[in-house]
């Protein structure tokens, strides 16, 4: 079963991240690299992506003739997806364990930030046999 692990943050979190110290950034990058390798070595890795920052985010709606109408003004409370991993595991508990590991990524102070990781099932295209 596949799960998506999502890191979300407010605009201010991203702005704070941009001001991290060199050491904190290095510790974070090193952790992420190790974490990715752990997922691959365990045979559970499906995909991972990091996203552009909220300053680059636009909300698009179709106008009258279907032309794009963009808006980039968001309330401060809005949470943005920073990045995600998709993993293929045996059980929800295994997904939670891996999410807890991701949550230990070092933060601004260089220590485990215990940031919240949102875990949700990725739906599949098939139905079960019901036996």
């Amino acid at each position: 079963m596949k799960y998506i692990l999502m890191m979300n943050g407010k605009k201010s979190d991203f702005e704070g991240y941009a001001r991290w110290s060199k050491e904190a950034l290095q510790a974070n990058v090193a952790f992420m690299r190790t974490f990715s390798k752990e997922l691959k070595d365990a045979g559970v890795f499906v995909s991972t992506e990091g996203l552009g920052w909220p300053s680059e985010a636009k909300v698009v709606r179709a106008g009258k003739d279907g032309e794009p109408i963009t808006d980039g003004v968001f309330p401060e409370s809005k949470e943005f997806l920073a990045g995600y991993w998709i993993i293929d595991v045996e059980s929800p508990d295994q997904a939670y364990k891996i999410a807890a590991r991701a949550s230990q990524a070092p933060g601004a102070g260089g220590k485990a930030a215990n940031m919240p990781i949102e875990v949700r099932p990725v739906l599949c295209g098939h139905a079960d046999l019901g036996l």
Partner: protein, 415 residues
């Protein structure tokens, strides 16, 4: 050199030969994990060379030789890494003649591999992956594609599975008859999981995905040839055929789920039904009735009804009662509740479902809510039915199931 105008027969040939070749190489080198890698490389070499150069006179011998050469190369480079000075000595080693390797081959090799790949120390997903590669002769890319994960992830899963087997110290030999009895349920379960993964895939994704249901049928058929007296293997094969027979009727043009009672039964595969019933009849005559035979018997009762209304529910109910004794479990209770509702009315079914509410294995599972919604609808309590259809829709991890359940709720909400 024989001609092979297209790839399909070549793939079939390679898949049939794969476990025989692996058995021979693993036996020769006493190293299942390394032999499995070498055979995979030989298979890939055959895939690229044979279409161009034609299939060799002795395709199995060709694969064995290529795989043995890979093994020898690997051993040499290992030795070289350990001690560069012994390289020269290793170079002088000669390859064992093919005739000698082929003479050592055993028809039970495939069976040994099957038991090895379904080793109880493995998780279901690793056992499935390893079985498909080592016994099924599929490439890592094909298996990765079937499970929609990257090839590197599947390769890693397979390599870890082999490491687990190596660590467990399982020898490359046929388990004793007593060991076989103990381990067979795990083997059958892996084959069943491969089938259900393939069977339940929707039509659209099946176009791009390897047909796992057919592969499971092929592997189970082979297992039945190797253990012809085992009634449960026959029962599992019958169950697969009797279920697969309904495949074309099971989804509509938009890949929507069509439940059993609404299926166009003229689309059911008569040949598969006949074969399944024949296998089942022969298996039941053996006397010891197991869980797969019972499930096959239930599938057969459904398949034999020309219309949904003609379904012999009392017989299905009796079979579920037997199944509950042979192999109790929450999913069996769920299905038993449906059968009981068909015979004794929905209230009886709902009463049986209540016994599952405190069962942690199924309490949060969408199927419990889906079945409850279905039975509540039959009692006429549409509001409660809508509620449970919606809970089930939120809980399922399948898009077609979710669409189906939401449609059921929407249908009742309109009335």
């Amino acid at each position: 050199m024989a001609d092979h105008p297209n790839d399909a027969p070549l793939e079939h040939l390679l898949r049939e030969l794969a476990p025989q070749v692996l058995g021979a190489v693993a036996r020769r080198f006493h190293d299942f994990a390394a032999a499995e890698d070498a055979v995979q490389e030989a298979m890939i070499a055959a895939f690229t060379q044979w279409p161009r150069e034609g299939v060799p006179e002795n395709p199995r011998g060709w694969l064995i030789q290529v795989a043995c050469r890979r093994m020898t190369d690997q051993i040499r480079s290992d030795i070289a890494r350990r001690d560069r000075e012994t390289t020269v000595a290793a170079e002088t080693e000669t390859l064992t003649p093919l005739s000698e390797i082929e003479a050592d081959m055993d028809p039970d090799d495939t069976l040994i591999l099957l038991f090895m790949c379904c080793h109880p120390a493995l998780t279901p997903s690793s056992a499935i992956a390893l079985t498909l590669r080592a016994v099924g002769g599929l490439t890592t890319a094909e298996i990765a594609n079937a499970f929609l994960v990257p090839e590197a992830t599947m390769a890693q899963r397979i390599s870890r599975a082999k490491q687990t087997i190596k660590t467990s110290g399982a020898p490359f030999r046929l388990p004793s008859s007593q060991e076989r009895t103990g381990q067979l349920p795990a083997v059958l379960h892996v084959l069943y999981l491969i089938f259900s993964e393939g069977y339940s895939s929707s039509i659209g994704s099946r176009l791009q995905r390897f047909d796992l249901a057919r592969e499971a049928i092929r592997l189970t058929r082979n297992a039945k040839t190797l253990l012809p007296d085992n009634a449960e293997i026959a029962g599992l094969l019958a169950l697969m055929l009797l279920t697969d027979a309904r495949r074309a009727a099971r989804t509509g043009p938009d890949e929507e789920i069509i439940p059993l009672d609404k299926q166009d039964r003229s689309l059911w595969d008569r040949a598969e039904i006949s074969e399944g019933i024949e296998l089942l009849t022969a298996a039941l005559a053996h006397g010891s009735v197991g869980l797969y035979q019972l499930q096959a018997a239930i599938a057969a009762v459904h398949d034999e009804a020309k219309q949904a209304e003609e379904t012999d529910w009392p017989q299905i109910l009796a079979l579920y009662e037997l199944l509950k004794q042979v192999s109790p479990g929450p999913m069996v209770t769920l299905n038993h509740a449906i059968a009981a509702a068909m015979v004794h009315g929905p209230a009886k079914g709902l009463e049986l479902l209540r016994t599952l509410d405190s069962d942690p294995r199924v309490a949060g599972h969408y199927r419990l809510d889906a079945v409850r919604a279905h039975l509540l609808e039959k009692t006429g309590d549409h509001q409660a039915a809508i509620k449970h259809y919606r809970i089930a829709a939120a809980r399922t991890t399948s898009i077609p199931e979710r669409n189906y359940l939401m449609t059921q709720a929407a249908r009742l909400a309109v009335d």
